[in-house]
Subunit: 659 residues, 2 copies
């Protein structure tokens, strides 16, 4: 039975939850497919997540391998094909809790960087799990700066082999998933040497474990890097190579080849390699960043209408905590952010698909803009959503801190997205470099990509809002964001120019501007997100109730951003102090409006209880029962501790049974 406090929230929805779900899925037919996949996977006991919070790293790893192998079978049984509509829902259905994701990257890198011959040899083996692959790029001492990788691959012309070596400790491969305990093969990125000359980093397929008994191959040292903040199910590994020889054909050679005589040949464009990284950054936003935040919002908002604490008015029943303005101000902006980022994510996906088609026609014009967008948005969205999940966790008080709430693992999971696939600060600075470059181009009349034309078009001026309802006009706030983003780029570019003109070396000047450059890049992404959300809401072709609530969410997202970053809007007087009071007022009013639909807005995300895996967030709101039931299954209750007999019994008072 559904907790009555939660049930009552569902009776007053201002829109159809089912229709909102369909809109989020991109059509009712997709919702159907998704539900069928989730249903098929979640009713299979192998994919159970029941004991997840009680398992050790070793148990989690074993379960993840089992799931991966079983999924392989299941996919075939169900007739789900690699390019079928079901594929994109499988990962969501298993809640990411599965091994061999790096095996997929291994395959992707061979498909992208390998010759047809290499593809024909390796892909079928990998597809059937006859080999398990990994992707060994990052080293113990080297992450983001790829040119700094130290692993070497020296071409031996006499044997037609590459000799791979880890020249010192900091060159050890460190972090690659699936490598610590599972992989039989990996793609090693190493500095290529021919006749003593270095040709830069190249990818080599290296076998690391025997296919007969899984023992490490000669010259190979490998293992697991130990406990991490999350991803216990993944065997992130280390790898040390000592004179490991691979045949010449094992260098992935679609673009670069070492010929038998040691002649080095580069063909085609290297730019396409950047594009792979670029698309990865965008494609991870949905699965690794937005999904955890959607789950966290679902859990925190459902719990906040079940939990009652203290009184709003004397003599009344204790109030639902979501009825406190401070709780609304914690959670509802995060909910608005989910919708904002869902919209921008769709936009970016579409942009990248178009870009991909262009690139296949050898038109690389959009590449710089796409690279800047993917870097900036990966950083901006992952940082924003990580903070948002943390807010959701803290907003649930003590029970949010219990692993059984599901929130701690959502937080530790999403936190990693700020680090992998490019450290966020470095990514923001890449976007900033693009912005500064475009600003310079635009101010000398050269054409610039569409997303940055505003930089040169912004005029000095003041926000025209006269009263608080003006701030519910999307043109008003979008323009404020545009003005602010342009100002930050322009003023930082000016500072950079001033420093250089005053004699500071170019790279020192750049370093001295990086804090503000990163801020400008974030502001750029924030502006585009607001603009895009507002435009999408305006064009929304769905029932009126949905458009209305989306408009509220868009307003909330935008005004929350102004309220919490007031300084950058007030700085040059574009928004005055009196106008900022209007912003605050409109913003706080909106909280009370959206609060009414908060539960339907998270119900629309349509997560099953199994995928939430939360004692606080289940559909029926039976929070306390579930916490109690789940706690009883904990090994701290099911296993007897020797602590009493060993340490306490000798001390405790013995003569009295009752004091």
């Amino acid at each position: 039975s559904v907790n009555p406090d939660l049930a009552s929230e569902r009776q007053t929805a201002s829109f159809s939850v089912e229709k909102l779900t369909a809109w989020l899925d991109g059509g009712a037919e997709h919702t159907q497919t998704r539900r069928a996949v989730v249903e098929a996977i979640q009713r299979d006991p192998v994919f159970s997540r029941e004991n997840q919070y009680f398992q050790s790293q070793n148990e989690r790893y074993e379960a993840a391998v089992r799931k991966a192998v079983h999924l392989h079978k299941k996919t075939q049984e169900m007739g789900w094909t690699e390019n079928g509509p079901e594929m994109k829902y499988i990962y969501r259905a298993v809640s990411g809790d599965i091994a061999f994701l790096l095996h997929r990257i291994f395959m992707r890198s061979i498909s992208m960087l390998g010759s047809n011959q290499q593809i024909a040899k390796w892909i079928p083996l990998a597809t059937q799990f006859q080999i398990i692959g990994s992707y060994a790029q990052t080293e113990l001492g080297h992450g983001t700066y790829l040119q700094g990788l130290e692993t070497t691959a020296v071409f031996d012309i006499t044997t037609q082999e590459f000799i791979l070596n880890t020249p010192n400790l900091s060159a050890m491969k460190w972090w690659p998933g699936d490598m610590g305990r599972s992989a039989t093969h990996t793609v090693v990125f190493a500095q290529l040497y021919i006749h003593g000359k270095c040709y830069g980093v190249h990818p080599f397929i290296v076998q690391i474990r025997s296919l007969q008994d899984h023992s490490l191959c000669p010259g190979v040292t490998a293992g697991d890097i130990g406990p991490k903040m999350n991803f216990e199910h993944i065997d992130n590994g280390y790898l040390l190579l000592q004179n490991v020889r691979v045949p010449r054909e094992n260098m992935l050679n679609k673009f670069c080849e070492v010929q038998p005589d040691g002649n080095y040949k580069r063909q085609g464009s290297q730019q396409i390699n950047y594009f792979t990284m670029t698309t990865t950054r965008i494609s991870l936003l949905a699965s690794e960043v937005l999904t955890p935040l959607m789950k966290a919002c679902t859990i925190a908002i459902r719990y906040s209408v079940v939990r009652r604490q203290s009184k709003l008015a004397p003599g009344e029943q204790e109030a639902k905590i979501l009825d406190y303005q401070t709780q609304q101000e914690k959670l509802l902006p995060q909910l608005a952010a989910v919708y904002a980022f869902h919209v921008i994510n769709n936009y970016l996906q579409e942009l990248f698909n178009r870009g991909y088609r262009e690139i296949q026609r050898h038109n690389f014009d959009t590449l710089p803009e796409l690279h800047a967008l993917s870097s900036g948005f990966k950083a901006f969205v992952s940082q924003y959503c990580t903070s948002a999940v943390e807010i959701c966790l803290q907003a649930c008080g003590g029970h949010g801190y219990s692993m059984l709430s599901g929130l701690p693992s959502l937080y530790t999971n999403i936190l990693a997205s700020c680090i992998y696939e490019g450290e966020n600060t470095i990514l923001l600075l890449q976007t900033a470099r693009f912005l500064v470059k475009c600003l310079k181009a635009a101010s000398t009349g050269q054409p610039v990509p569409p997303s940055v034309t505003y930089l040169a078009a912004v005029k000095p001026g003041k926000c025209p809002a006269k009263n608080k309802s003006d701030f519910l006009c999307s043109d008003i706030y979008t323009e404020a964001y545009q003005h602010m983003a342009a100002r930050l780029t322009i003023s930082t570019a000016a500072k950079l120019q001033d420093l250089i003109q005053s004699g500071v070396k170019k790279h020192d000047a750049w370093n001295q501007c990086t804090v503000q450059l990163a801020q400008a890049a974030k502001a750029h992404c924030h502006y585009i997100t607001v603009k895009n959300f507002a435009e999408t809401v305006e064009k929304l072709k769905t029932e009126a109730g949905i458009q209305k609530i989306m408009k509220h969410l868009c307003d909330l997202f935008a005004l929350h951003g102004i309220f919490t970053n007031a300084g950058v809007f007030l700085h040059d007087g574009y928004i005055s102090g009196a106008q900022m009071d209007m912003v605050a007022s409109s913003y706080l009013d909106l909280l009370a409006v959206i609060r009414k639909d908060a539960v339907p807005l998270v119900d629309a995300f349509d997560f099953t209880d199994q995928s939430l895996n939360s004692a606080l967030g289940s559909y029926d709101g039976q929070v306390y029962q579930r916490l109690y039931e789940w706690a009883q299954k904990s090994p701290t209750n099911t296993q007897m501790s020797p602590a009493y007999k060993k340490y306490l019994k000798p001390l405790l008072h013995k003569r009295l049974s009752k004091l």
Copy 2:
């Protein structure tokens, strides 16, 4: 041997690290005592933390009980007495990783709330661990709002007993430490009923486990609440009572008593109870909040001079990451915050000691101010430091995410301080209520406590700074903080008044102002912290080098606060946009200055490698060696996984040993 990149940082310190350590400890003699305690404890193998990151919740619990029992013995052996100078260093020396902290709260509550007779009976038993106590206040459905507790204690006049009951699921005691598996007794907070009349919440000593075999007593259901984000070593528990009878003498009766005839007698003041909570909030700041941040700063800063990544200038060696402005801007403000909060913590401790002496003389005048300060500062400092630790973690990239860095557990540990001993938002609102009340009093000419006199004294005006060096004058920025804090309280109080006058009910009006009230409370604490730090630095009687670097840190802390909260300073034009540019400029310049002393400034915290327990943060900076060595000890490497045989072997290609 010390990593040369780290060693070189220590050769250029602008002050004596040893003298700074002595200042932090409050005198060289305290440093000596502390080091002796740490040395005695850390050389004892029972207190080893070597395998901590590899242990299960059960193993952590067992180790913590063992340590607690052993510490009891050790303390006696060493001749450390309860009131001796060593006592305050023991907890730091064991790094908190120990059981029976709630046992101490059990004892404290009996000492505070029990009669002399009760103290004489229970305290000796507890001191000798002949009984193990806990403190059962929080319930599954009730935390901060104590009046809402549901557990009942009904006085049975015929047997002269109280009958304790858990009337329903949400009334179950939930979270108390040491209760899940260890405690034999606990102090239960329950609604007292006599002849059907409720007298509110009172404390009762209840035995929950047999002293002979540790089995649960009749009518008692208890267990462990399962996995949490941290504190695996503590058996946070649940407790369900069904008609559990305790004798009349088990109600703690220093202030309230039920006489044999059922007559209820209250004596003395209840206010002193608040004071206990108040002092707890202040006393936890040093051990639970500041210490984790000091450790996180030590780890992140040492790592940031060992880690090299990318190049600052073409052709050069890869740069230490601490030489990037963005990395400085992440870490150095957190380092400044440590010193700022160290200073304010000393100030608050002193204030509370004075207050305690006053209260013993039955002068309760300072109680409201002390309560407001303790609530506000607990919330402000714990939230600030939690964010700071998170920044340190993220600033260490991938390796920061490894448990072996020590940063994940520091983060999950400090995060709890935002939740326990009063949820932060509720605490801030208590401070805000005090501020609004004082403002009203002050504006009608009534006397107000010293910390809030500024509310009525602030005049409209503008910041007089003319150039960026003016912002290195502590009067300039302290006044800016004062102006801003007063403005926030005054404008929110005005909004509250307006709402009430426009007909909104008082409690609804309050709720509609809470977001801004919480902001005002935070601003008040921020202002006092800055003011106090500046005053302390000015009066510093120590070597000139230390005063100089402290002045830099004070400036950095203050300017960082203005830079990151620019909106509240710009809002009414007190600081202009042009002045804000000066702030930014002074702030960013300071980073490069303090960067030079960053390592000596964390060395002065004087943590041993054992208490840091970090592969990234050890004194010798041998980061990569340690990561590799520690990883090899992980159970993921020392235990064979069945995953290969069970799931992989049947799939892997068998015919070829080498592909």
